[in-house]
Each structure stands twice: as structure tokens, then as C-alpha cells.
């Protein structure tokens, strides 16, 4: 069985919690004691219905206020697949939360209310998912029961969105008419939409092809940890393994490799996994690589193929999502973590702030406030072994950390590095 990670988006009243509740309920992932607790709380609150959002709003203050504060992760499985949902709140702090939930997603699910059509919020979410290179997008047109299952409503929203999406990078789009409340086209095909020939939401989630989304061509192995057993046996005395998680490409025994930033070359002697040698390693395997030569390799280094290496660069041009209340300004110094390497970065220039409603590039701003995204030039103290984010979501991403508070304040996606 395989795994699909998806992130949900949509405004507060678009029925997101109901849809998630429906997916969990119809896939029999809600347990009786959880449902009883929700029924009990719904009744205490004076609702005459079972409020499925109580299943996902897990914190005391969220239930008090009836809102979702932070990303929550939910799990369900069908006989075809296992799913991890990053349930992101549609509220004011949308960008930061969307980036958190969508950074690891294979698929983004944007919900719209059929009565209202596309809103600023739906466009914003599509822009964010596209910026984060989430390869698959589903536009779920919800509450179709409230527009009498009118095909024209569906077609109009679909056309408007498709038109808008041409400006974005969305390789795969599916538009599904549904009613989360009544369950139409969620798990079961609806008799109310005879004009709709596409899949139900669950069918699409179960069958969308995600395996090909990884880069299997360009070998990228960030060294995470050096394993030296210091044991007395002959076999282990000289053991020196480089542990890490494959970020791209397929590593094979006998491959000629280059270690960056030093530029030393060697050959892969073995790929170990818990006492066994494996023939090859590909994303996202966590393995241990041994090399033929006694080259100096440590945490933060990168192993790549000799004629196919990432940039080794200290000047980084990236889209940065700013995640804290104090604005990002030029000349600011921050800690940067990129793959397994940590250094410091200086903000050289904020080229523009991206207005994610209009896609307009505001070049006058000079700073980025909370939840804003902009194009930023950084100079780092250490060279980074970087790829474009569009090419590799692991070697193309980084975080920025405030050195005084220790808090993660920015998430970056690399445009270019040199």
C-alpha cells in the first residue's frame, strides 16, 4: 500500500471540516468513542446537529472559539491507500499555515462554496499551492445541493478557475462538484450530477499517480550523520558510513560520486540498511553510504554524481514566506538551515513583495510583513549545495531562524543559486 499526503484549504464556511469529517466517517476512520464525545459536546453547545468540526478542532481554545488555530494532521486509510491530511485553518494566518501544511503535500484540496464561486481566498490558496509546487490540485465545488445541482454553476466556476490557473504552475487539476454535508461525489457517486463524468473525490485521492513526482534522475544525498561504531571487532573497527535520506536520484553501488563542497571524488562501495547491503537507494529512503576512498565527509556535505551536481553557492535568490510579526528587512542577519547544513544568512535585498491576490509584484515595499511572500536575495556564510525548488523540493528549500529567539521565521524556495 502507498501513502498520499494532502493539504486542505478553503474559507471557514466552505465546509472544510464537514468534508474532512465525511471522508473520515465514510472511510470508517472515526471510532465510536470519538463520535460519542463529539455528539456529547455538540449537545452541550446546544447544536441540533453533530458538529463534525469538533473532530478536527482539538485544542481547548479552538473549541471555545469555534475556530481552527493551527494545522492538525489527520489519518485515514482505504484498501487502496493510506492518507495523511494536513488540515490547515482558513483564518487570518493563512499563508504561514498553508505553507506549513502544504510543504510536504502531494496534493492540495481547495474547497469553494458553489453559491459564492471563486473568492479571493480560493485564488490565494491556488497561488500558494502553485508556489509550493504541490503537483496535484483538486478544486472541490461544495454545496452543490444549494444551487440545485446546476451544471452551469459548475461549468462557470471551472472555466473561471482554469482561466486563472493558466497564470500559475498547476500540472494536474481536477474539478469535482460535491456536497460534503450530504455525501454526494465524496465517496459515492451522486445521482444528482448525471452531467458529471469525472471521478468522486475519494476515487481521485485513491488513484492519483504521485510516484512519478519525485526526481529520480539527479542524485542528491545530503550527509546527515557519520556512523563510526568504534567497536573492537575487525569488521567494525574501520567502519565509516555516511547516513542520510536520499533527496533525489537513484544511488547505486559502484557509482562514481562527488562530495560537495570539497569536490573530492570517490566510488560508492556499499549502501547499508540495518545490516544488509541494498543495491540501490532512491527518495525517500534513509540509508547509510560507504565510499571506496578515505575522503573527508561530514554532516552538511552533499554526495552527488560527478557530472550532475547541484550549485555550490553563497548567493541565493529565493521566494520567502515571512512567518513572524517583526518584518523582514534588508541587512538583517538570520540563521539558515538548508538540507543538513546550517549557517548564517544576510538579507541583501528584497526585490519585491508578491501580492497573492493580484499576482502583482510590489517593488516599492522594501520589507516583508507577517504572512507576506516576496523575492529575496541572500548571502550566506557557508556555501549551500542547492537546486531550484522547481526541480527538487528538498534541496531547493530552506528555513530562516531568528538567532535571538530561536524561532523559525521564514520558509524559502530557491529560484537560483550562484
Amino acid at each position: 500500500m502507498d501513502l498520499l499526503r494532502f493539504a486542505t484549504a478553503g474559507s471557514v464556511d466552505d465546509g472544510k471540516s464537514t468534508l474532512i469529517g465525511r471522508l473520515l466517517y465514510d472511510s470508517k476512520s472515526i471510532f465510536a468513542d470519538q463520535l460519542e464525545a463529539v455528539e456529547r459536546t455538540s449537545e452541550q453547545k446546544g447544536h441540533d446537529y453533530v458538529d463534525l468540526s469538533l473532530l478536527t478542532d482539538g485544542l481547548r481554545s479552538e473549541r471555545e472559539q469555534g475556530i481552527t488555530i493551527d494545522v492538525a494532521y489527520r489519518y485515514f486509510a482505504t484498501p487502496h491507500r493510506k492518507f495523511i491530511i494536513a488540515d490547515t485553518p482558513g483564518h487570518t494566518q493563512y499563508t504561514r499555515n498553508m505553507v506549513t501544511g502544504a510543504s510536504t503535500a502531494d496534493l492540495g484540496l481547495v474547497l469553494v462554496d458553489a453559491r459564492h464561486g471563486l473568492t479571493e481566498q480560493s485564488r490565494r490558496h491556488a497561488v500558494l499551492l502553485s508556489l509550493l509546487r504541490v503537483p496535484h490540485l483538486v478544486l472541490a465545488i461544495n454545496k452543490m445541493d444549494l444551487v440545485d445541482w446546476d451544471e452551469n454553476v459548475y461549468t462557470a466556476i471551472k472555466d473561471e478557475f482554469t482561466q486563472f490557473a493558466t497564470k500559475l504552475n498547476i500540472p494536474d487539476l481536477e474539478v469535482i462538484p460535491l456536497s460534503a454535508l450530504q455525501g454526494d461525489n465524496v465517496v459515492n457517486r451522486s445521482a444528482n450530477t448525471p452531467w458529471y463524468q469525472g471521478p468522486t473525490l475519494m476515487h481521485h485521492l485513491e488513484h492519483v499517480h504521485v510516484a512519478s513526482d519525485r526526481d529520480l534522475k539527479d542524485v542528491r544525498f545530503p550527509v546527515q550523520y557519520v556512523i563510526r561504531p568504534h567497536a573492537d571487532t575487525d569488521e567494525l573497527r574501520d567502519y565509516r558510513g555516511y547516513a542520510g535520506q536520499v533527496a533525489g536520484g537513484v544511488l547505486k553501488k559502484g557509482d562514481e560520486v562527488i562530495v560537495l563542497p570539497s569536490g573530492m571524488t570517490s566510488t560508492i562501495k556499499a549502501i547499508d540498511f540495518f545490516g544488509e547491503e541494498v543495491d540501490q537507494a532512491f527518495p525517500p529512503m534513509s540509508v547509510t553510504v560507504r565510499l571506496d576512498d578515505e575522503v573527508d565527509v561530514s554532516r552538511g556535505d552533499m554526495i552527488a554524481r560527478v557530472n550532475n551536481a547541484p550549485s555550490v553557492a553563497q548567493d541565493i535568490d529565493a521566494m520567502v514566506c515571512w512567518m513572524t510579526t517583526t518584518p523582514l528587512r534588508p541587512r538583517q542577519k538570520l540563521a539558515i538551515k538548508h538540507t543538513t547544513r546550517t549557517g548564517r544568512a544576510l538579507v541583501k535585498e528584497i526585490q519585491y513583495r508578491l501580492d497573492i491576490n493580484s499576482l502583482h509584484r510590489d517593488q516599492e515595499t522594501g520589507e516583508l510583513a507577517l504572512n507576506e511572500i516576496g523575492r529575496v536575495k541572500l548571502r550566506t556564510t557557508l556555501p549551500l549545495m542547492a537546486d531550484e525548488y522547481a526541480k527538487n523540493r528538498t534541496t531547493g528549500s530552506f528555513i530562516l531562524i531568528d538567532e535571538a529567539t530561536g524561532v523559525t521565521v521564514g520558509a524559502g524556495m530557491i529560484n537560483s543559486a550562484d
Binding site: M1, G58, A211, K337, H338
Partner: protein
Amino acid sequence: MSTHPDYRLSQLDQLEAESIHIFREVAAEFEKPVLMFSGGKDSIVMLRLAEKAFHPAKIPFPILQIDNGLDFPEVMETRDRWVERLGVKLVVASIDDAIARGIVIDDGKTSRNRLQTPTLLNAIEENGFTAAFGGGRRDEEKARAKERVYSHRDEFGQWDPKNQRPEVWSLYNGRLHEGEHMRIFPISNWTELDVWDYIRREQIEIPNIYFAHQRRVFERDGMLMTETPLNPCRDGEVASERTVRFRTCGDMTLTGCVESTASTLDEIIAEISVARLTERGATRGDDRFSEAAMEDRKKEGYF
């Protein structure tokens, strides 16, 4: 690991790879990590993952058990066998000792589960641990569904769910100030069924109380509790011998069992697959105190 002609990993292999990545990241970046170990199935899966992450070297950090004096003896025996086989250092912080030293007060009313938190925080502080691995899973409970993989704790050991660090991609931020520590949850994305599938696949030794056995039990609050001198029957409660097994391992006086004849991993998995109650809802008295019992305990510093 099997061969993968199409370069795809099963979901269990993907989860394993992610967990191993987290273990290595913490070992590389933190000065003094420790693995919190209760002896239950999740802790044991954690030990196996840590073993895999650093093989053929030994696990480069000790394990910490909070001995509440009410643990099942079978669980402690399994713990000792794992510790010996892996050659790891075991640190035990006992509640009895904490009571004797005046760190916590036993008023005879507070459950030992509540006394665990200050005992744990004291052990973390005294040993100078900067990162504590825990086997918490987000599917267990709704407050846990909100938890980050790296969960920041202030110098009082408190969790602030409203002020968590954004966690993007797999770029974990382990920055700390003096006195603070991080709780690390490498199996956040695993479900109860994943844990059992993994135990079956890896043929991992777990305490035998997870398998069906005969036990003298009585009913309390809709749960089957073990009859022991530590937890005798109260008025109206009658003990009888039944065929039962446990879904979680915790405090013997609070952890209930379920009637079951599942005596193999295959049978347990078949049973879990159709279970209508969560493991905590079915067998954990400590989660029943209030709607937000877990959240409140976590804010104080519980795992």
C-alpha cells in the same frame, strides 16, 4: 527491505524512512538527547527505529523510564531484555524516589499518572537532557494531532499549543535557550495499525500482556481492571478470571484490558482493523478526566 523495481516505497517503508531521518537529525544537532521509554509497543517500535538509524553503531543516547511503581512486571522484563540486547544505558527516574525527596507529594488521591510529569521534568533537568524522544502519535488523541515533530518546551517544561514553531518540509528547528528542551516525536505520522503492522513485519518482541491471556479482572467505569493488592476491588466490584489482552501499557491501576482471544500478531491486527473504540478511549482511565485531559497534561509537561 524488499526490492523496488518501480522505485516506490510502501507506506510503512516511507514512515520508517521519515522516522529514521528524525532520529539522526536529533542525534546530530542536540547535545544530550534521551529516549523516553515506557515499555509499551510504541516505545519498543521507537527503539527498533533508533537501532536501525545508527546501525552498526550503538544507539548514541540513553533511554529514560519513569518508574511509577505500578508498572506491569511483564513490561519491565521486556524492557530489561531490550536494554541488554542493545547495550544502551538505562536511566530510571522513580516516583517513589521523587516522593521521598519531596519533589512530588503523594496525597493518596492524585493518580500516579499526574505525579509522572514533575518526576519526568526533574529527571530531564537533573540529567541536562536537551531533547527527549517520545512515542506519541498524532492519531491517538485530538490534542496530539496538533503537535509538531519537534515540540518546544520552555524552562518549566510547558507546551504552548498556541505558539508552536512552523514546521515546513523536513527542516526541523532545534534551537533552544538555556534550560529549555525539545520533545521529539519520530512516529507522529504512524497510526495504531501502522505500529502493529511494523511489529509484525519486524517480528519485534513486545510484552506478552498484549496477547490474550487469563487474568483476574473486575469491571470499573466500563473497563476491565486488573485485580492486584495495589488496585483492589471496591464495593460492588467482583473479580473473575477472564481471557483478556491489553491495547496500551501504562499504570496498572488505570490501564484497562479488553476481552479478546487474539494470541498472535495476525489475530491482533485483525481485531484492531475492525475495532470501534480507540485504544485510549477503550482502556485508558487517565484520558477520561475531562474533554481536554491530554492537552492540559501536555501543557504541564507530560509526554
